[in-house]
């Protein structure tokens, strides 16, 4: 038997003493909720009336024909309220916050999706909300910052460290150790100290539960492979949990290959040779760090994947050989995005598109009677500035230039 909070040798709760009681309470409330059938029912009801669950499983016939192999299915987390799977996690934790009687939530955010989702949850539940976001991401994801503020949240640009997701997490913890009495930290992914990885995975398991039912209905049998992008790992764990016991279903996690695994400018922890075991941000996993244990800078076109660590659950499944890992480069991502938009009229988020890249590489190897599922964790609308820029769209640039002048003139 593992130590509680451990998955194989990974996980744990490396927390400052001042949070000891806070975590005890959180573990307790979470355990109660998990044991309570009614809680999950309340969660399902909320997700089906406030968001759009169950989200559809879309059959992508044009892409299937294009690659001439497996039948490609896409799990449509992009159709969630706020446009990504992040909604599943924040709504679940929101219900726990109500049970704990706390009145304020804080969160880190990378792409801004979790921040928007959390600010949305806070508005709906009437909580005060502060979002920590790496200054670099604030620039990369301005529209999301605007919406968070409109939703009533305070967005704090984090200027420490590499000014990205990991630093936002540190900053959120610094807030939490001061305000734990009133405040819950809504961790956005299946990382951090126990019970966060297990708890967030539980809320996201709704994806896999639906997907398994849906593929059996529409394809008549289990899929050969399931693909998901991996930042912290929550959308991947979400869908993978539907198929963990089905050993014939291969599970593939796709990390950010950035400018290429050999350039060092990537965020591939398990698909590259660059990561090593470490303890940071409250948990033990494979981190992108140097020989002293100092965390490295990472890079990805997708802010949501641009992170040094990875879920202890996934590191365990990787070590046990249950989940295979691959990486997609920024360039491959833009190409797959373009193809997906043109063939299916679907616009995946840059993060999600990483999963498409690997699926496209492998679809041709499989036969027509096999199915694969790609988890589309979110929609690409939020990425318009990044995408339009990456595609170097002249009329977009012209439009921004004009608007900019207009504002400069004032």
């Amino acid at each position: 038997m593992n130590k509680p909070g451990y998955f194989g040798q990974w996980g744990g709760a490396y927390i400052p003493e001042v949070l000891y009681e806070t975590f005890r309470e959180l573990r307790e409330v979470y355990a109660k909720a998990k044991a309570d059938q009614a809680f999950w029912q309340e969660y399902l009801a909320l997700m089906s009336s406030y968001s759009c669950r169950p989200t559809p499983l879309t059959r992508a016939d044009n892409l299937s024909r294009h690659f001439g192999g497996a039948q490609i299915f896409i799990k449509r987390e992009d159709l969630n309220h706020t446009g990504a799977h992040k909604a599943n996690n924040v709504m679940g934790q929101g219900l726990l916050v109500k049970r704990m009687g706390k009145t304020r939530v804080i969160a880190e955010t990378g792409a801004g999706q979790h921040g928007v989702a959390c600010a949305t949850m806070a508005a709906k539940f009437g909580f005060a909300c502060t979002i920590y976001m790496g200054e670099e991401d604030v620039h990369r994801q301005r529209p999301n910052v605007f919406w968070m503020e409109k939703l009533g949240a305070t967005v704090v640009p984090v200027t420490t460290g590499s000014r990205t997701l990991k630093d936002a997490i540190n900053e959120a913890f610094r807030d939490w150790v001061s305000n734990m009495d009133t405040t819950h930290y809504v961790m956005g992914t299946v990382c951090g100290p126990h019970p966060f990885p297990e708890m967030v995975a539980w809320f996201q398991s709704i994806i896999g539960q639906e997907a398994r039912k849906q593929i059996l209905t529409s394809h008549g049998k289990l899929p050969a492979r399931v693909y998901a992008c991996v930042g912290g790992g929550s959308n991947a764990m979400g869908i993978f949990q539907g198929f963990l016991d089905d050993t014939e279903v291969e599970l593939i996690g796709v990390e950010a290959g950035g400018k290429g695994l050999d350039t060092g400018q990537h965020a591939a922890r398990l698909a590259s040779q660059d990561a090593s075991p470490g303890v940071a941000q409250g948990y033990k996993t494979m981190f992108l760090q140097d020989s002293d244990g100092q965390m490295r800078d990472t890079h990805s076109v997708a802010a949501g994947l641009d992170y040094i660590g990875v879920s202890p659950l996934l590191t365990d499944l990787w070590e046990k050989g249950r989940v295979r890992f691959a990486a997609a480069t920024d360039q491959e991502v833009m190409a797959a995005l373009d193809l997906t938009i043109k063939k299916e009229g679907i616009i995946p988020a840059l993060e999600s598109t990483h999963a498409f890249v690997q699926a496209f590489k492998e679809a041709g190897e499989l036969s027509r009677d096999q199915a694969i599922i790609i988890n589309q964790s979110g929609r690409g609308d939020k990425d318009i500035f990044t995408i339009a820029h990456a595609f170097d769209d002249p009329s977009w640039k012209e439009f921004i230039r004009k608007k900019g002048e207009e504002y400069a003139a004032r």
């Binding site: 744990g12 000891y20 009681e21 540190n170 001061s178 090593s276 470490g278 020989s291 100092q294």
Partner: protein, 255 residues
Amino acid sequence: MQLADQLRQTRSKKDILLMTHLVLGYPSFAVNREVIHQMVANGVDVIELQIPFSEPMADGPMIIKANQESIANGTKVADCLAFAAEMAAQYDIPFLFMTYYNILFKYGLKDFLHKAKEIGIRGFIIPDLPPEEGEEYLRLAREFDLAPIQIFAPTSTEERMRTLAGHGAGFIYCVARRGVTGSKTEFDASFDEYLARCRRATDLPLAVGFGISNRADVQILTGKADLAVIGTATIRLVEEKGAEAVGPFIAGLRG
């Protein structure tokens, strides 16, 4: 002699002991050297040397900045060990390492403790390593007769304090308040109640840290705690007035 006993002995000669803190390699080892000289010369009793880490989760802006810039200046763990060895050899007050667990973990827990022992370090303060996660660390510390300083917080129950004390040695680091290092602390009634709780839970010496920045603070602690911990205050001082200001500052904190 064990750290706890040594501190009790020193304490018997002084109303309160002073523990100071600095971040290795910030602004430079040269300045660290000068600062430590001034501290010792002015009667500091214990010094915690913080090995910089890229993710100083429990620290405030001032010390975060120190950690970052030290690493940016190229400070390596090996440099910190070499410097610590030099200091421990030169001054006969106890030196402790303060850092985050990943530095030990990545170096190799056993190798790190062995090395620390070898260079004359007396103990460790690891804010992100609760005893539940530190079994191996605690076992090795005992083996090498190094003090795995345990931390009490205002949020700790008395029962929890007893558990922590049971794992601790040298002294107990009592965090004066919620939050991170660097900001002011109010020493009100609830603080006294808290310190009383700490006292009941252990007979190890009690150090109080977080937001202790001047003579008044130290005086308040005198008689209540065994050690006053001066952290951010000296770093800010060096930043503003340079290393030579440290001596007079320390001298002015007591008596």
